[in-house]
Amino acid sequence: MKRLSFLFVIGLIALFPVVHPSPYTLHIATLIFIWAFIATAWSYMGRFELISLGHGAFLGIGAYTAGLLFNNAGVSPWVGMILGALIAAGLAGIIGFACFRFGVIGDYFALLTLALGEITTLVLVAFREHTGGSLGFTLNKVEPSLWALKFTNKVSFYYVSLAFLLAAWFLWIVIDRSKMQKGLRAIGEDEIAASTLGVRIVRYKLYIYMISASVTSMGGVLYAWYISYINPHTLSGVGPSLDIAFKSILGGMFNLLGPAIGSALIVILEEYVRVVYGAKFVGISQIAYGMVLVLLIMFLPRGIYGSLSALFKKMSGLSDRK
């Protein structure tokens, strides 16, 4: 029953552009899909209490790898995406191994990833001859094609990003059914007990970190191609890193749909304030955004979707499980 209604909603979303092809709505929806994709990827780790505050680094790795290859060697973003994902996974592998092997967990891990996110941004800026430094660079203009991920109209990107989001959800479900998920849950609840029971802590954490990193980097490519511009402060570093975490937590990072809902809310909120108050007052929307975030973390630590679903479960008498 639940699955049917889910498919029904997806179907509606898929048909939407056919029925009502307003470029503006499609634009907002595409942004939502892309950020939902990225937030979901972050939550692969987040849901197991592995909080990374440096995922911006992976966004940047994906975007810059694909972007530089595209601009300098005409390489398709699809290839660039795969290469970026490999590099991101590699970086996550090294960091992850160092951390998990040395038992760096919890907020030390979070702070460490924060630092690494910053290092990535600094490195990207430092190589300014190649990367355009603080100002970044734009993607070359080319003939529209699927190969180059460039299109004449908004609808195509809408479908591409929707497809990616569905794939991210699919991957979530796959992970959910795997042995790894049970292991990671045990680790999340009590790491020491888990290790004595033989759960391969380092390995599972490493895998999920690498998966999360590589998928996130693909999101970076998507976003970069959507706006055709790559900037180290919007696509890497502390800002986007925190942004991703917030989007996931706001919606509820323990549920499949939570990150998507959080992303949707934030994108819409930002757009709304931008439209209503004009670009000059974008700062105000951010202030409100920040305040709402703080309030939400204080009062609804499981996010909106998480708290609502916990509430429903409680009301219907089922046990509240993560």
Binding site: E49, I51, L53, A98, C99, F102, G103, V104, I105, G106, D107, Y108, A110, L111, L112, L114, A115, L116, E118, I119, L122, V123, V125, A126, V238, L242, A245, F246, I249, F281, G283, I284, Q286, I287, Y289, G290, M291, L293, V294, I297, M298, P301
Partner: protein
Amino acid sequence: MTVLILNALVNGILLGGVLALLAFGMNLIFGVVKVIHMAYGQSVMLGMYVIYTLTEIYNVPLISSCLIAVIAMTLLGGLMHLLVVQKLLTANRLNQLLALAGLIIVYENFAQVIWGADLRGIPVFLPVFNIGEVFIKTSNLIAFIGSLVVLGLLYFFLHKTYIGLAIRATAQDVECARLMGINPKKIYLTTMMVGSAMTGVIAAFFTPIYSVHPHFGGSFTMMAFIIVVLGGMGNLMGGFIGAFVIGIVTSLTGALASIEAAEIVALIIFVLVVLIRPQGLMGGKQTR
């Protein structure tokens, strides 16, 4: 070459003095209230904007502006504590981190909305003098000496007054402190306010040295983290030493390579400390 290194060394030490204040504030708050003040550098930024606005727009004399800024930041800290931090004391560490990180967004955008994204500075012309081949800016020297004086005052406060003693006791054992008649809520508020007052003081010292912009706080917050973790979180002496280590290292790297390289080196030190010795130089037991 040696002249370059010597100058960098001296300036690193001078910088270390102010960084020591930064670290002290964060350590005090972490040691007592047990939260990481994620927006510490951003608070300094706001303090600098207050000084700028009062001095440049309302023509308040500089010294008075600085004093008003310290008071303003103290009040802001108290407000922040009562509205946000107090409710987070029982939450898990991650939520604390994120909520306070949310404040970063609020503070930075607040600054951007009111003052815009351009650099704002106050033209303060202080002489540069030299001892032999080493050139010292008076502004840096004042900041250094001033920081040491403030640190001395804080030491006196913590060791010779009842409330300072109560703060130290609360940091060591809250429950036992309660049994002495200490009200932890008051202590937390006082500590937050003292820590915030210091951001005002730092802002005053920074004003003749730097121009401010909405993202100014970011690198200083990061720097404060690095020092605090290096010295041992919550360890005041460790923070003091760590500040000078980082001050000298970044100054030397900045002079020999580039500013970005200096930041990267500092961050790498941070990463290495977390991996190898997370309790820092002076931390006691491993409290992972």
